[in-house]
Assembly symmetry: C2
């Protein structure tokens, strides 16, 4: 029997439709207009995105067709492999069967091109010539830069300053693809200038970078905003991951008892887990879903569920989601892709409904799991993905303690080739766990609309 098992599908098995959890979830709260409080309409969104994406954002249809022009690009690396982690199982001496779906095979090294390609396709078709976006660790920015190169679109990336400085190779990758990369907060936008005026040394945050990109897109009809996570249409595009995994588990004649994904904005978790969750909601097999988030930016485990802005300065529609407050600036984690004050409304709704369990993971634990995984399986995980690895290791250890052989699937959303500086610091014992900034969150939550009047924020208000 083969030692290392991968389950491959043919190109014909690339899904032909995206799966939309909003069709199966009892209450996928709609975004609201911050001025009127009314539900957002397609027209409201047209200022920053083309109609096709605006319609997907608000759609409740279960299946939405994937254009041939998108599938043709997916073919370069999709279907992505599903691996059985036999060497890790042996290293952990666990009766668990551990699988991982590996999205690092894309040209930019993560799951992000699944939506970058789709967004570039629709924008190109709508006559847009430039995309503006934010990026944290740079996985998203480099993926949109890639998609821009393939579809002939200019790409401006506002990159969170702390990541811009920590991860120069990600910036260089974007520039090699032809994109322009700007450290955020920047003096290029009113939003950036306002943050810099208050704190010239601001490390930046995903929320601030979103503000800059949305401002730029709103000011120029030829420019669209392209979101890397959080939004419904982004999670929709990522559903190819979980749909493929379901087909691959059929090949493996197995089925996951637990599905684990890291969660920052929520698109990786949603992309992997929602097809499994939807199957369960429609009467299919039971499945536990775990969202692994960083302990120093604990949106799901310590945040409040409310209507809040997706950006730092209040330019976006209000999204109903777990939030630490749109003005909260999380500590400078190495898993920059998880460093976000909010979470996708669909993930938030699934957590609120008890369908997804959130777990907070300390940074040092995630890197220790990343090294363990690299030495067993040969792939160095992205720091974000390492959060999922750590939770998978914990679940496999529980199986050993309980003497039960469950099937565990986790998402290896990307490789850590551009994050080796952080691994070096970890190996040198120089990484520390930033404490959760409880006081900062309390202060930020008072600025959330509707929460300002709330008297007690300690009890995880759900308003």
């Amino acid at each position: 029997m083969s030692e290392h098992v991968k389950y491959l599908l043919s190109e014909d098995d690339i899904p032909r439709t995206w799966y939309n959890l909003a069709a199966d979830l009892p209450d996928p709260a709609a975004p609201r207009h911050p001025g009127t409080g009314a539900d957002i309409t397609v027209d409201d969104l047209l200022a920053i995105m083309p109609e096709a994406l605006a319609r997907q954002e608000l759609s409740r249809e279960r299946e939405i067709g994937i254009p041939d022009g998108v599938r043709d690009v997916y073919r370069q690396w999709r279907p992505s492999p599903l691996y059985r982690a036999r060497r890790l199982e042996r290293a952990l001496d666990t009766p668990a069967r551990i699988y991982y779906k590996y999205e690092g095979v894309s040209p930019s090294g993560s799951h992000k091109p699944n939506t970058a390609v789709a967004q570039a396709y629709y924008n190109r078709r709508a006559g847009i010539t430039r995309l503006a976006t934010e990026t944290g660790a740079g996985q998203w920015g480099s993926s949109l830069a890639l998609a821009g190169a393939l579809f002939g679109l200019d790409v401006d990336v506002y990159m969170v300053r702390v990541s811009y400085e920590q991860k120069p190779y990600r910036r260089m990758l974007m520039e090699t693809y032809g994109a322009r990369c700007v450290p955020s907060p920047s003096p290029e936008t009113a939003a950036g200038r306002a943050v810099l005026a208050a704190d010239p040394d601001s490390p930046g945050s995903l929320g601030i970078a979103v503000s800059e990109a949305v401002e730029v897109a709103g000011a120029d009809p030829g420019t669209s905003y392209a979101g890397g996570s959080v939004l419904n249409h982004v999670l929709l595009h990522q559903s190819v991951i979980g749909q493929e995994a379901i087909a691959q588990f059929a090949l493996a004649d197995d089925n996951p008892d637990v599905v684990i994904g890291c969660a920052g904005g929520g698109s990786n978790l949603g992309g992997l887990a929602f097809p499994f969750l939807g199957r369960k909601l429609r009467g299919g097999p039971e499945v536990r879903i775990i969202a692994a988030e960083p302990a120093a930016c604990p949106t799901l485990t310590r945040g409040t569920r409310a209507y809040d802005f997706a950006d730092a300065t209040g330019l976006t529609p209000l999204l109903r989601m777990h939030t630490l407050g749109h003005g909260f600036v999380p500590p400078p984690l190495h898993a920059g892709g998880l460093r976000y004050h909010g979470i996708a409304p669909l993930v938030s709704a699934a957590v609120a409904a008890g369908l997804v369990e959130p777990v907070a993971v300390a940074q040092t634990d995630s890197f220790a799991a990343g090294v363990r995984f690299a030495r067993a399986e040969g792939i160095v995980p992205a720091p974000e993905s390492a959060h999922a690895v750590e939770v998978a290791v914990r679940e496999a250890s529980r199986c050993r303690e309980e003497g039960v052989g469950r099937t565990i699937l986790f998402g290896l959303s990307g490789h850590g080739h551009f994050d080796l500086g952080a691994y070096e610091r970890h190996l040198a014992g120089a990484l520390r766990d930033e404490p959760h900034d409880e006081a900062g969150v309390r202060a930020a939550l008072t600025a959330v609309p509707g929460l300002a009047a709330a008297t007690d924020l300690a009890g995880l208000a759900d308003v």
Copy 2:
């Protein structure tokens, strides 16, 4: 029709034997003992490698079985994809059909694990506990570090100092896999100390690093030397690349007129091209093979064919090969994997027999081709591979000029994720082309055994 075409094989199609060009080449000159001048024997090699590898090194058998324990690890990323570069073809407006075989899908990002895994397997089986090796750009060192982690072997890597400083992420990758990485020349070995005594600021060279690794392996029975290129058994292991490509061209119902590989030590070129060359030598289809080497280290185009040492200080057997002199220290190219004074004897013999055409490529041309390829096909090539891209672009441009639609295959031996600093310098216009150090080569050639007495070195002596 699909826009981007990849040709995948199933895991069952991973070759079951390695192909050995020495069986089909009229005169694959045997290595010689530097003391006696006699042909090297298996016994001579046992001081630094296990018997299985020593036998492969001297074998003239055409096919050598791949152990199941090696194929099982290959399954993680093999068969590697063959891509049709349709977007590049369109960008070049060429009637040529351009294909590339992409080895960057391995966990360390290059073709090097094909032999690292095999060498680790045989050493582990022979009871060896530590491997010592050299590395230039770090593609090889990180691949051996990976293989060491998978087979439970300690790995010491002597990394050429200039690359150690240029490519810190490669060192970090080796350390994440658990290997020890030492800048070479180092004070750890007599060879390193001798170089440092003569030049404390030596940038190092592959030849010097080989000396250090061979010295360490020779001094400890529990330590083997593991070579990343040049040696016959290394080219043997790499033959999986070309064998898969032949099967993939059958799927594509096409056949390459030209096969292009970059050549430093020669294992990438040999791995891709030799199965095609062997087929031709046995009466199969005609094929042109081009070796792309750096203009600033032009072993094949400006070197002399002679028996010379594989390392800088004369610890290895004498290999019959094109050489710039074992003491020659090439200028600090970014394509560190091509920065070697010699070349695989099998490649040298094929060039001498007129079966392989060498072409020298300037560094700036290679990076320009790398950027062009990245923007068309989405993958950033390793600087070494970019030399092959440049030659493929030239061949495709010739097809346009001549109005002839040939089929071009090139080897994309690895990705450039760890080389983005060099791309940044290229994009900033800060890269320059180091001149070929003709005087340095003349001086170094006088130290080559047998050439010392030669009166005229200008005419590319073949002794």
